[in-house]
Protein backbone atom coordinates (compact mmCIF):
# COMPACT_ATOMS: atom_id res chain seq x y z
CA UNK A 1 0.00 0.00 0.00
CA UNK A 2 1.18 3.52 -0.65
CA UNK A 3 2.27 5.56 2.32
CA UNK A 4 -0.56 7.55 3.90
CA UNK A 5 -1.02 11.15 2.75
CA UNK A 6 0.90 13.61 4.94
CA UNK A 7 2.78 10.78 6.68
CA UNK A 8 5.13 9.90 3.86
CA UNK A 9 8.59 9.01 5.08
CA UNK A 10 10.83 12.00 4.37
CA UNK A 11 13.96 10.00 3.69
CA UNK A 12 12.32 7.19 1.72
CA UNK A 13 9.20 8.53 0.05
CA UNK A 14 9.28 5.74 -2.52
CA UNK A 15 8.91 2.90 -0.09
CA UNK A 16 5.52 1.27 0.29
CA UNK A 17 3.72 -0.25 3.25
CA UNK A 18 3.79 -4.02 3.52
CA UNK A 19 0.71 -4.71 5.57
CA UNK A 20 0.96 -7.15 8.44
CA UNK A 21 -2.39 -6.33 9.93
CA UNK A 22 -5.67 -5.68 8.22
CA UNK A 23 -6.89 -2.20 7.44
CA UNK A 24 -10.40 -0.93 6.86
CA UNK A 25 -11.76 -1.52 3.37
CA UNK A 26 -9.26 -4.19 2.44
CA UNK A 27 -10.96 -7.10 0.76
CA UNK A 28 -9.46 -9.47 3.32
CA UNK A 29 -10.43 -7.40 6.35
CA UNK A 30 -13.58 -9.21 7.39
CA UNK A 31 -12.08 -12.65 6.79
CA UNK A 32 -8.96 -11.72 8.76
CA UNK A 33 -11.13 -10.67 11.69
CA UNK A 34 -13.30 -13.76 11.62
CA UNK A 35 -10.17 -15.97 11.65
CA UNK A 36 -8.77 -14.02 14.56
CA UNK A 37 -11.87 -14.07 16.75
CA UNK A 38 -12.48 -17.72 15.83
CA UNK A 39 -9.03 -18.76 17.03
CA UNK A 40 -9.44 -16.77 20.21
CA UNK A 41 -12.83 -18.27 21.02
CA UNK A 42 -11.57 -21.82 20.48
CA UNK A 43 -8.51 -21.32 22.70
CA UNK A 44 -10.87 -19.86 25.29
CA UNK A 45 -12.71 -23.17 25.43
CA UNK A 46 -15.65 -22.48 23.15
CA UNK A 47 -16.72 -25.16 20.75
CA UNK A 48 -18.04 -24.72 17.25
CA UNK A 49 -21.65 -25.59 16.72
CA UNK A 50 -22.37 -28.33 14.21
CA UNK A 51 -25.53 -26.63 13.08
CA UNK A 52 -24.12 -23.21 12.31
CA UNK A 53 -20.37 -23.01 12.61
CA UNK A 54 -18.80 -19.65 12.18
CA UNK A 55 -15.28 -21.00 12.20
CA UNK A 56 -14.25 -23.31 9.40
Amino acid sequence: MEQPPSYVDQTDPNLVCRLKKALYDLKQASRAWSDKIGQYLITSGFQTSNANFSKA
Binding site: L15, A22, L23, D25, K27, A29, I37
Partner: protein
Protein backbone atom coordinates in the same frame (compact mmCIF):
# COMPACT_ATOMS: atom_id res chain seq x y z
CA UNK B 1 -42.88 12.11 21.93
CA UNK B 2 -46.29 11.04 20.64
CA UNK B 3 -47.72 14.46 21.52
CA UNK B 4 -44.99 16.22 19.59
CA UNK B 5 -45.49 14.21 16.44
CA UNK B 6 -49.15 15.15 16.48
CA UNK B 7 -48.35 18.84 16.81
CA UNK B 8 -46.00 18.64 13.85
CA UNK B 9 -48.61 17.25 11.51
CA UNK B 10 -51.22 19.81 12.56
CA UNK B 11 -49.21 23.02 12.52
CA UNK B 12 -46.91 22.56 9.56
CA UNK B 13 -47.41 21.95 5.89
CA UNK B 14 -44.97 19.05 6.17
CA UNK B 15 -42.84 17.86 3.32
CA UNK B 16 -42.92 19.92 0.19
CA UNK B 17 -40.83 20.45 -2.87
CA UNK B 18 -37.94 22.86 -2.55
CA UNK B 19 -38.41 26.03 -4.58
CA UNK B 20 -35.09 25.48 -6.28
CA UNK B 21 -36.20 22.12 -7.57
CA UNK B 22 -39.42 23.45 -9.06
CA UNK B 23 -37.55 25.75 -11.41
CA UNK B 24 -37.18 24.06 -14.73
CA UNK B 25 -33.56 23.88 -15.75
CA UNK B 26 -32.70 26.04 -18.76
CA UNK B 27 -33.41 24.15 -21.89
CA UNK B 28 -30.50 23.96 -24.22
CA UNK B 29 -31.76 22.91 -27.63
CA UNK B 30 -34.16 20.56 -25.97
CA UNK B 31 -31.35 18.88 -24.04
CA UNK B 32 -32.21 18.75 -20.38
CA UNK B 33 -29.41 19.90 -18.12
CA UNK B 34 -28.94 17.91 -14.98
CA UNK B 35 -30.21 19.35 -11.72
CA UNK B 36 -27.83 20.00 -8.85
CA UNK B 37 -29.41 17.09 -7.01
CA UNK B 38 -27.77 13.73 -6.91
CA UNK B 39 -30.70 11.89 -5.36
CA UNK B 40 -34.42 12.56 -5.89
CA UNK B 41 -35.01 12.82 -2.16
CA UNK B 42 -32.74 15.86 -2.01
CA UNK B 43 -35.49 17.87 -3.71
CA UNK B 44 -37.69 17.71 -0.65
CA UNK B 45 -37.58 20.04 2.29
CA UNK B 46 -39.28 19.76 5.63
CA UNK B 47 -39.59 22.50 8.19
CA UNK B 48 -41.89 20.98 10.75
CA UNK B 49 -39.32 20.17 13.39
CA UNK B 50 -39.79 21.15 16.99
CA UNK B 51 -37.35 23.60 18.54
CA UNK B 52 -35.04 21.11 20.21
CA UNK B 53 -34.71 19.15 16.98
CA UNK B 54 -33.60 22.33 15.28
CA UNK B 55 -31.07 22.95 18.03
CA UNK B 56 -29.77 19.44 17.60
CA UNK B 57 -29.50 19.72 13.84
CA UNK B 58 -27.73 23.05 13.99
CA UNK B 59 -25.18 21.57 16.37
CA UNK B 60 -24.69 18.45 14.30
CA UNK B 61 -24.50 20.21 10.95
CA UNK B 62 -22.45 23.12 12.20
CA UNK B 63 -19.19 21.44 11.39
CA UNK B 64 -18.57 20.13 7.94
CA UNK B 65 -16.80 16.82 7.62
CA UNK B 66 -13.89 17.06 5.21
CA UNK B 67 -14.09 14.67 2.31
CA UNK B 68 -10.45 14.55 1.39
CA UNK B 69 -7.02 15.13 2.76
CA UNK B 70 -6.47 18.41 0.90
CA UNK B 71 -9.27 20.02 2.91
CA UNK B 72 -7.63 19.43 6.28
CA UNK B 73 -4.06 20.46 5.52
CA UNK B 74 -2.88 22.73 8.29
CA UNK B 75 -5.99 22.27 10.41
CA UNK B 76 -4.71 21.45 13.91
CA UNK B 77 -7.78 19.55 15.13
CA UNK B 78 -7.67 17.12 12.21
CA UNK B 79 -3.88 16.97 12.30
CA UNK B 80 -4.11 15.86 15.92
CA UNK B 81 -6.68 13.25 15.07
CA UNK B 82 -4.50 11.89 12.27
CA UNK B 83 -1.45 11.88 14.55
CA UNK B 84 -3.40 9.81 17.05
CA UNK B 85 -4.50 7.36 14.41
CA UNK B 86 -0.98 7.06 13.04
CA UNK B 87 0.35 6.40 16.53
CA UNK B 88 -2.23 3.64 16.98
CA UNK B 89 -1.31 2.07 13.64
CA UNK B 90 2.36 2.23 14.61
CA UNK B 91 1.74 0.68 18.00
CA UNK B 92 -0.21 -2.07 16.30
CA UNK B 93 2.70 -2.73 13.89
CA UNK B 94 0.25 -2.56 11.04
CA UNK B 95 2.90 -2.35 8.34
CA UNK B 96 6.59 -2.13 7.59
CA UNK B 97 8.12 0.08 4.93
CA UNK B 98 9.62 -1.91 2.10
CA UNK B 99 10.66 -1.29 -1.49
CA UNK B 100 7.95 -2.03 -4.01
CA UNK B 101 8.78 -5.19 -6.00
CA UNK B 102 9.36 -4.60 -9.70
CA UNK B 103 6.32 -4.40 -11.94
CA UNK B 104 3.96 -4.28 -8.99
CA UNK B 105 1.53 -1.56 -8.13
CA UNK B 106 0.77 -0.50 -4.60
CA UNK B 107 -2.86 0.09 -3.71
CA UNK B 108 -3.70 3.53 -2.41
CA UNK B 109 -5.13 4.62 0.88
CA UNK B 110 -6.95 7.65 2.12
CA UNK B 111 -8.02 9.39 5.26
CA UNK B 112 -11.66 9.62 6.15
CA UNK B 113 -12.89 12.22 8.59
CA UNK B 114 -15.80 12.07 10.96
CA UNK B 115 -17.09 14.47 13.58
CA UNK B 116 -18.51 12.50 16.47
CA UNK B 117 -21.33 13.99 18.49
CA UNK B 118 -22.83 13.22 21.86
CA UNK B 119 -26.49 12.33 22.14
CA UNK B 120 -27.41 15.97 22.80
CA UNK B 121 -25.64 17.05 19.63
CA UNK B 122 -22.61 18.57 21.35
CA UNK B 123 -19.21 17.86 19.85
CA UNK B 124 -17.58 14.70 21.07
CA UNK B 125 -14.42 14.27 19.04
CA UNK B 126 -12.74 14.47 15.69
CA UNK B 127 -12.11 11.04 14.38
CA UNK B 128 -10.04 9.99 11.45
CA UNK B 129 -9.47 6.60 10.01
CA UNK B 130 -7.00 5.42 7.42
CA UNK B 131 -8.71 3.20 4.89
CA UNK B 132 -7.15 1.14 2.14
CA UNK B 133 -8.50 1.44 -1.36
CA UNK B 134 -9.65 -2.15 -1.35
CA UNK B 135 -11.54 -1.68 -4.58
CA UNK B 136 -8.19 -1.62 -6.36
CA UNK B 137 -7.35 -5.13 -5.21
CA UNK B 138 -7.98 -7.97 -7.57
CA UNK B 139 -8.81 -11.45 -6.49
CA UNK B 140 -5.95 -13.92 -6.94
CA UNK B 141 -3.33 -11.19 -7.23
CA UNK B 142 -3.68 -9.11 -4.10
CA UNK B 143 -5.87 -11.38 -2.06
CA UNK B 144 -7.34 -14.83 -2.15
CA UNK B 145 -9.66 -15.85 0.61
CA UNK B 146 -12.08 -13.09 1.40
CA UNK B 147 -15.14 -15.07 2.42
CA UNK B 148 -16.08 -14.51 6.01
CA UNK B 149 -18.33 -16.78 7.98
CA UNK B 150 -21.12 -15.15 9.90
CA UNK B 151 -23.74 -16.32 12.36
CA UNK B 152 -27.18 -17.04 10.97
CA UNK B 153 -30.00 -14.91 12.30
CA UNK B 154 -31.92 -18.08 13.27
CA UNK B 155 -28.99 -19.17 15.44
CA UNK B 156 -29.00 -15.84 17.22
CA UNK B 157 -32.77 -16.14 17.76
CA UNK B 158 -32.42 -19.65 19.18
CA UNK B 159 -29.80 -18.42 21.62
CA UNK B 160 -32.09 -15.60 22.75
CA UNK B 161 -34.96 -18.08 23.15
CA UNK B 162 -32.77 -20.39 25.21
CA UNK B 163 -31.69 -17.50 27.41
CA UNK B 164 -35.32 -16.66 28.10
CA UNK B 165 -36.39 -20.26 28.64
CA UNK B 166 -33.54 -21.15 30.96
CA UNK B 167 -33.23 -17.84 32.77
CA UNK B 168 -29.62 -17.29 31.68
CA UNK B 169 -28.02 -13.91 31.43
CA UNK B 170 -26.87 -12.61 28.10
CA UNK B 171 -23.88 -10.38 27.36
CA UNK B 172 -23.39 -8.22 24.36
CA UNK B 173 -20.05 -6.77 23.34
CA UNK B 174 -18.55 -4.52 20.78
CA UNK B 175 -15.00 -4.65 19.47
CA UNK B 176 -13.36 -1.32 18.81
CA UNK B 177 -11.49 -0.91 15.54
CA UNK B 178 -12.45 -4.44 14.71
CA UNK B 179 -10.84 -4.65 11.30
CA UNK B 180 -7.47 -3.55 12.58
CA UNK B 181 -7.05 -6.72 14.62
CA UNK B 182 -6.88 -9.23 11.83
CA UNK B 183 -3.50 -10.66 10.78
CA UNK B 184 -2.64 -10.83 7.12
Amino acid sequence: MGEESKIISVTTPGARMAKKALKTPDNNNGVRRSTPFKYPIQRFTYDGFVAHHYTYMVKVMHEVEPTCFEQVVGNPKWDNAMDEEMAALDANATWELVALPKDKKAIGCKWVYKVKHNADGSMSRYKTRLVAKGYAQSYGIDCEETYSLVAKMTTIRIIIIMVVAKGWSLHQMDVKNVFLHGDL
